[in-house]
Amino acid sequence: MKELSLILQFVQQILPAIWITLLISVISIGIGTIFGFLLAWGKMSRLKSVRWLTSIYVSVIRATPAIIMIFIVYYGLPFLFKGWFHLNIEGWQRMYFVIIALTLLFSAPVAEIMRSAYLAVPKGQQEAGLLVGMTKFQVFYRILLPQAFVIALPNFANSVINLLKEGALTFTIGVVDMVAKAQMIVSNNSGGFAFETYGALALIYWVISLAIDKFVSSAEKAYRRKRQTIDGSREAV
């Protein structure tokens, strides 16, 4: 029981850094989703060159390990900016680099998820929509997108959880997130209580993913329940 109370104590010490983790994640997810949406669009473009470019981009990003992406952005971007725009961005907050790296990482799987969800919606509905007089955009926005959204939800949640975990590498470039905080605690204790400290950290991550899972599954359920409020009696066929 002493273990447990120690872990809880470390949770309390780590927790103040959670907002860094959450801030980085939320921003990366937000921008990454928009970016992923555009990429999915590009992958289905009528122009071969656009399809080709987006496919290459997605496959390269998907193959890049998070830690490498973070390093490339952190060390490479200032270099590029100096060369191309004569701008010095070394003074940027380190958090920005992490956000850029995670946004890029997140956009690739999201592009795939959105594309396959869109393709999974039966397209006869599109023709039906056009022939009730709606424009292509109206059909997309009102009929196809809402259905694709529901199909994409579970995989999207998985990607969010992955991103959260990849974000745990943020400390590698010196941003004081929860992981960095845990490391400090361990070193302040001269390497003692490492198990309890990292255990506390794992616990926090676990609770966050549980919350995400729970949120997504209740969103899905709410959507399906809406469809089942009517008793399916089929008397008057």
Binding site: Q125, V132, Q147, V237
Partner: protein
């Protein structure tokens, strides 16, 4: 009211439709029959702009042009003046029965919600589904779904409704309800062009039957003539086969 002339369509090298003509007058019920792969579906899809033609002319809703010259605006005009009932319904799965019908009224025809609802309710009553407004497509039988498809088409008050084998995806016991609705529409004077394998419907309801095969119109005529004394041997053969299997 609708005239199509010299319509041509190729898919790759294959000619699917060769020099097809069609004239539809107000109140006509025209049935299209013919073997599988003869190009019936493609024909209706071209008229309704779901597919592009490789040649031919259309006169409809104030448009009098070659298919090749249709502008975006013309295409929209055509779409807003036709109804289409699909073989596999193609209902909007994320919308209720009522919303399936009001969608076009509100979004395309810009009617108020209340007006759209009133129109939709009466269209649904007409197809016998007044009590199913709040159901989702996944909760309907095939026969009910197809009747929603019909309600969705008639609610928009189109000049003509096209039906592509509206009963061929249905269990036999559900076919009658759908055909009954279509007979009633015909009796009310709705202009309809119907692809069907239901020869009794073609015989009893339509005022013209068109027999297509291999992308050609082989024979057309009044049902009383075409079914009893077909002029072309190809028609005779087809009718013998199809009536034998029913």
């Amino acid at each position: 009211m609708l005239t199509i002339s010299h319509l041509k369509k190729r898919f790759g090298q294959r000619t699917i439709l060769e020099d097809i003509d069609l004239t539809v007058h107000q109140g006509d019920v025209i049935t299209l029959i013919g073997p599988s792969g003869s190009g019936k579906t493609t024909f209706l899809r071209i008229i309704t702009t779901l597919e592009q033609a490789d040649g031919g002319h259309i006169q409809f809703a104030g448009i009098d042009k070659d298919f090749a010259d249709l502008t975006k605006r013309d295409i929209q005009t055509i779409r807003r003046n036709v109804g289409f009932v699909f073989q596999n319904y193609n209902l909007f799965n994320n919308k209720t029965v009522l919303q399936n019908v009001t969608e076009g009224l509100i979004v395309a025809q810009k009617r108020s919600k209340a007006a759209a609802k009133a129109i939709a309710v009466s269209a649904l009553a007409k197809v016998g589904l007044a009590d199913f407004q709040d159901y989702y497509p996944s909760q309907l039988s095939g026969g009910q779904a197809q009747r929603v498809g019909i309600a969705r088409a008639i609610a928009l008050n189109p000049k003509v409704i096209f039906f592509d084998e509206p009963t061929s995806a249905l269990d036999p016991e559900l076919v009658t309800d759908v055909l009954q609705v279509m007979r009633q529409l015909a009796a009310e004077g709705m202009t309809m062009v119907v692809i069907t394998h239901q020869m009794s419907f073609a015989r009893d309801v339509s005022n013209q039957v068109i027999f297509m095969a291999d992308g050609h119109v082989i024979e057309k005529g009044q049902p009383s003539q075409l079914f009893t004394t077909p002029k072309v041997s190809r028609t005779k053969q087809f009718l013998a086969e199809i009536l034998a299997t029913v």
